[in-house]
Symmetry: C2
Subunit: 189 residues, 2 copies
Amino acid sequence: MISAFSRLPGVGPKSAERFSYFLLRSGGEVAEELRASIQAALQSTKVCSQCFNLDEQDPCSICSDEGRDQQVMLVVEDPRDVTAFEESGFRGLYHVLQGRVSDLEGIGPEDLTIGPLFERLSRLRSSEVCLATSPDLEGEGTAQILAERLAERGLAVSRIARGIPAGSSITQVSKSILADALEGRRKLS
Amino acid sequence: MISAFSRLPGVGPKSAERFSYFLLRSGGEVAEELRASIQAALQSTKVCSQCFNLDEQDPCSICSDEGRDQQVMLVVEDPRDVTAFEESGFRGLYHVLQGRVSDLEGIGPEDLTIGPLFERLSRLRSSEVCLATSPDLEGEGTAQILAERLAERGLAVSRIARGIPAGSSITQVSKSILADALEGRRKLS
């Protein structure tokens, strides 16, 4: 149990030991609840065959919602990104890549859900693909590879904005963020 | 001395007391160095009559540098912002507003260096004014007031980009930052 807990992100052997002894001391009830909830989640969670989001149904609740705006498809790395953009108010479609291109981890474009993405795009009425991978090294690299492949197919491709996070002060942010904010400056009408 | 130190930003009465006793205990040498350096800085620092930056000369080293790109003028709140954008690699002109419009602090547009800004713009060859106030409530308000006044004069006006700070992950940033990043998304060519 200790070694299983220590495989969770951010949990070291000390924490894993603490969790384990807590469960053993708590007389079985808490442990049983945790075990059952893990089992239930595993059984009820499906990967959407359309967008590769995680949901309790397939197609997922977003793909099967006819009221969604099909114009813009947001391409993200991870199902958690879908949740984050939903909370930000986006109401279009998503496509989950299930990762990012990473030389270090040996993940190539062929390991991502790029094939199904093109298949969906040829079928749906989306007029814009917005690349929403993280603005870090591997996320930018993944976006660049996708942008090139999408451009070949004559699709409108956009990239989420890098810049200064709303609410922060000029003097608080790094020089690379300031350079981004300047490069991405927008004309005001 | 304690009360003078506690007027520094982020210094409470306890720290001010600690500073003061440290200076008194250190036998006068450190205290004298601090006193002399404050006096020297006060005497040698001038406000630039052109851009209102702080420098040891007037016009400041930026305004008097003929090699600067005069096309883009960056309007900032504070001299520290000039330093930050210089470090980010910007090589155009600046204009320091000496603050921001703030209802709470009773600072109106007339308290800022907006008059001299217009006077400079009518004299210089700048073709674009980029508003680089902070992307928070008062900074955005100040940018909006300036944008309206500048538009009346037929000048090209831009605003630095809000978005996700470079290097951060989608799942780390707030929903309002994600909404900004989506709204500000850019077409890739």
